[in-house]
């Protein structure tokens, strides 16, 4: 039996719950990771992933295989994350990073960890769309065209988001 994403979506469109569970199991780990990186919060990421999968179920009869299923699902997850960030600003708790163990004693390691912590904190402070663009580009290694498709914008707009994001990061790190 063809178990490609598109074949599973065709079965889901006919109300096949087993196909839905198979598709959810396949994509949930990646989508959870993506949501967590954009939102910076594990609980919110789970909510977003659940909502995204429910949209897969409800919208399956209307879904047209114009793009890869994964691209479409990524777009759903990113949009849900941006909506959530817009509604309730996230309090950056998880960027505090791990406390450096003084027993390790390596000042270089402490310095490196501190810089990493600053970068993480600076990323958390970025506007949601800049952060999403950075996560998709640097974290998932997507091309600007793919990111543009997911964010429903142009390639030049993605480039602008990345440039401004990095400018903001440099500014935050140099402060």
């Amino acid at each position: 039996m063809d178990d490609s994403d598109e074949a599973l979506m065709a079965r889901i469109a006919r109300g096949d719950e087993r196909a839905f569970r198979a598709l959810a199991s396949r994509h949930l780990p990646v989508m959870l990771g993506l949501a967590r990186r954009i939102l910076g919060n594990a609980a919110d990421a789970e909510d977003v992933a659940q909502e995204a999968m429910l949209r897969v179920w409800t919208h399956a009869p209307r879904w047209q295989p114009l793009a890869l299923f994964r691209t479409w699902l990524t777009r759903v997850v990113v949009n849900l994350c941006l909506d959530r960030k817009r509604r309730a600003p996230w309090v950056a708790l998880e960027v505090a990073g791990e406390i450096v163990d003084p027993a390790l004693g390596a000042s270089e390691k402490a310095e490196r960890d501190e810089r990493e912590r600053l970068v993480a904190a600076a990323i958390a402070e970025l506007p949601a769309r800049q952060r999403a663009a950075i996560v998709l580009t640097y974290g998932d290694g997507m091309s600007n065209a793919q990111v543009a498709e997911i964010l429903d914008t142009s390639v030049s707009a993605v480039e602008t988001l990345l440039v401004r994001g990095k400018q903001n990061l440099r500014r935050a790190l140099s402060a």
Partner: protein, 117 residues
């Protein structure tokens, strides 16, 4: 740290900070469990409506057809044999006007011409 080093550091740090975390199996299980609740109704597109109608089984089921025929035959027999008259036996089949009703039967003269019906 010069500009080039700073740029390299930022690129490397961005890759490291935004890389996909290892799969959280417990979180996946939690979400899958939440998805095991009854799923909501799917949204049907309007362009699929003709297909849905074509898929509809309009052919009647034979047991239902037989039941309908039996009901029709039973009604016919009851009507022909007059079985239902026994139920109507206690009811007087015509109206009776008593003397007390006569006073209520008033024929008003026509207002303009005064003619009586």
């Amino acid at each position: 740290m010069d500009k080039k080093q700073s740029q390299d550091f930022l690129e490397t740090a961005l890759k490291r900070q935004t890389q996909a975390p290892p799969a959280d199996d417990a979180a996946v299980e939690r979400v899958l469990k939440r998805l095991s609740d009854p799923l909501p109704r799917q949204k049907m597109p309007l362009w699929r409506l003709p297909g849905v109608l074509l898929d509809w089984q309009f052919a009647p089921a034979w047991p239902r057809m037989a039941a309908l025929a039996c009901c029709a035959a039973l009604g016919f027999v009851i009507g022909i044999a007059g079985v239902d008259r026994r139920f109507d036996a206690g009811v007087v089949p015509f109206a009776i006007a008593s003397h007390s009703d006569i006073g209520s039967i008033v024929f008003e003269p026509e207002a303009l011409t005064g003619a009586r019906p």
